[in-house]
């Protein structure tokens, strides 16, 4: 009954590296989709790609009256789309998903399917005044520059992502798009180590960052009994400027997977929250509670589908999400995988017996 907990080793880290280095802005998830398909096909009973590009993977369990359990991780990342060609390799762009404009200037980017390098430049400090430097650079003033002569390979409509390469820093990992390639990597690992007493419905979703759109139709199609969303949530655990207690940390690095009681999109089903906490305590896995409020995960769309789906989210904490360079702790990822694996092993239909 108790299958061995999957471990994060060099293989999983290499896969995460491939995933975070891939470029897949909302609506353009092809690069990640092909990695996912390559990884899950040998382990799945059914694999389907739906109209929006979600990859829906089914692994059937054995036995009667099986629970249908959906797990969702989104393949898309926030990024940019080129909107106007201004000649000479210079393009206007717009954001896709939530991006703080202050994080864009002076960055190296990768553009289009061929990952053409480009930069978002800024006026030299010598040519700006102190007054000007007090203003945030607006979308209207920023441009992507792929260099003169490159326009043939780059066109309006192409997406762009940060050019940050994956790097290991001891017990931490540094890359772009941990939100939500970590969830994708974790879900792939669970598909490879599935429970045998329930139906595992793994949804690698699209367009989470632009409105939880893939998860909505995926949940409608899969029609599960309950759902877990696997995501990445901000760890704002830096010191306050005045040394006062940081009361809005959201989550902390190193404190384990973050369980959601409520965020901006979902009030988690309390039965599932209790179950996860008990599972963690029994298995000796550290966990933390994400501060309620704000944000959203695929659970926000899933729980409102059809006649309602009891749902909860579990996230790996990450610093500087939605910027060029994010940071996570290896141990938090390992513990998230361990908790989810243990939860799937321990899940039975009794979990929904009592009323919400």
């Amino acid at each position: 009954m108790n299958a061995a907990t999957p471990k994060i080793t060099t293989d999983q880290i290499r896969l995460l590296e491939r995933l975070t280095n891939a470029c897949a802005v909302s609506g353009d998830e092809g690069e990640v989709r092909s990695i996912v398909l390559e990884q899950v096909r040998p382990h799945a009973d059914e694999v389907k790609i739906d109209a929006l590009g979600n990859v829906l993977v089914t692994h059937h369990g054995k036995g009667e009256n099986r629970l249908r359990v959906m797990l969702a991780a989104h393949m898309d990342e926030v990024g940019l789309m080129l909107t106007n060609d201004e000649e000479d390799g210079i393009f206007r762009f717009d954001t896709v998903g939530g991006l703080d404009l202050r994080q864009l200037v002076g960055k190296a980017m990768l553009v289009g399917g061929e990952h053409i390098p480009g930069v978002i430049g800024a006026r030299p400090i010598h040519l700006s005044t102190p007054e000007e430097r007090k203003q945030t650079l607006t979308l209207d003033t920023l441009r992507i520059d792929v260099g003169p002569g490159n326009s043939a390979k780059v066109k309006v409509g192409d997406r762009a992502t940060f050019a940050t390469p994956f790097k290991r820093l001891g017990s931490s990992l540094q890359a772009k798009a941990f939100d939500d390639r970590l969830g994708v990597a974790t879900l792939i690992e669970l598909v490879k180590n599935p429970p045998d007493h329930l139906d595992l419905l793994a949804a690698f979703t699209v367009q989470e960052e632009v409105g939880l759109r893939g998860a909505r139709v995926a949940a409608y199609t899969l029609d599960p009994h309950l759902a877990f969303a696997l995501d990445c949530t901000p760890a704002n655990d830096l010191p306050a400027w005045d040394g006062s207690e940081n009361e809005q940390y959201n989550t902390r690095l190193g404190a384990g997977p973050a369980l959601y009681i409520a965020d901006g999109s979902t009030i988690s089903d309390p039965r599932l929250v209790r179950f996860l906490m008990q599972t963690a305590q029994t298995a000796g896995i550290p966990y933390q509670v994400r501060q309620p409020g704000g944000g959203g995960t695929d659970a926000g769309a899933i729980h409102k589908q059809r006649q309602g789906v009891p749902s909860v989210s579990i996230s790996v904490p990450g610093r500087y999400l939605h910027t060029a360079v994010s940071l996570v702790r290896l141990a938090d990822w390992q513990n998230s995988l361990a908790l989810l694996h243990a939860a799937l092993q321990a899940l039975t239909p009794e979990i929904l017996a009592a009323e919400r």
Binding site: E245, E247, Q248, I261, A262, I267, P270, V289, Q291, P292, G293, G294, H303, K304, Q305, R306, Q307, G308, V309, P310, L352, E355, R356
Partner: protein
Amino acid sequence: MKALIQKLVETFSPSGFESPIRQIVRTEIEQIADEIQVDALGNLIARIGPRGEGQHSQGTRQKIMLAAHMDEIGVIVTHIDDNGFARFTTLGGVQPRNLSGGRVRFLNGAAGVIGIERLEKVTELPTIQQMFIDLGGSERKSCPVQVGDVAAFERPFAELGSRLIAKSMDDRIGVAVLIEAMRQLKHTPHDLYFVFSVQEEVGLRGATTAAFGIDPDLGLAVDVTGTGDTPKSIKMEVGLGKGPAIKVRDEGMLSDPRVVDWMVKTAEKAKIPYQLEILERGTTDARMIQISRAGVPSGCLSIPCRYIHSPSEMVDYQDVLHAVQLLVQLLSQPVKIG
């Protein structure tokens, strides 16, 4: 009906945590309904099938969904500091200006008072982040609540002439109207689904799934609406004491004109006073019922209410009684829309 209203408004059940109010509602209706079920999100759904005279009229049987939300706005703890003060965020549309000095009651029974940090300018409005709950303790480890615990506002029911005042009139008054209509309904040709919905205040979530599950022919929400009859208020024709309001539109939807017409004609025929409502800010469960599946002709029966989302929401008792009367009239008779 006042005792019922008091019992409902003095229960603590913010969005997402409706178990206490669901228990009370269930006790009130379990003898009346033909069938009761609780769905995956916690909606309480009571069905009353055709009954009494006219129940066998051919071709008039419609599946009608009524919805009044059981949840109220509230707060949820985000942090307990070293001295035992609780920081919080909101569940639903809680306005900072309604909080100072307010009292809250947690689901585990603990009570607290809302305090505010010192502001740079005394005339400024504080943000939620500048507020905290004082539970009477002095250190974190003896604080009776923890991160994730939820509370609703505490303010007892009161009467002022024919006005009734309490927190959570939005929408316990709608819940009361549905319960009372269920009690008074002697005959109907329809399949009626009385939905006591959850999580309306955080995005009409319960009504979304309930409507999908029921797949009705017609939908009617019962909720509060604002008024334009207080000093220098928003311009609005609706006022207390002039009858229940028939919603023409609000910020989130346009009522089906055929439903508005049906409601107006029924009220006029039965000589029940009514008002026509246009609400610029705010919406109801009807919005999600209307766009469920292939679409549902929908409307809303509104109870005029002053000071919505404050701890002292005020309705007029006569409006409430007339709302029940109108609802019973609407549900007793044949109707065919769309």
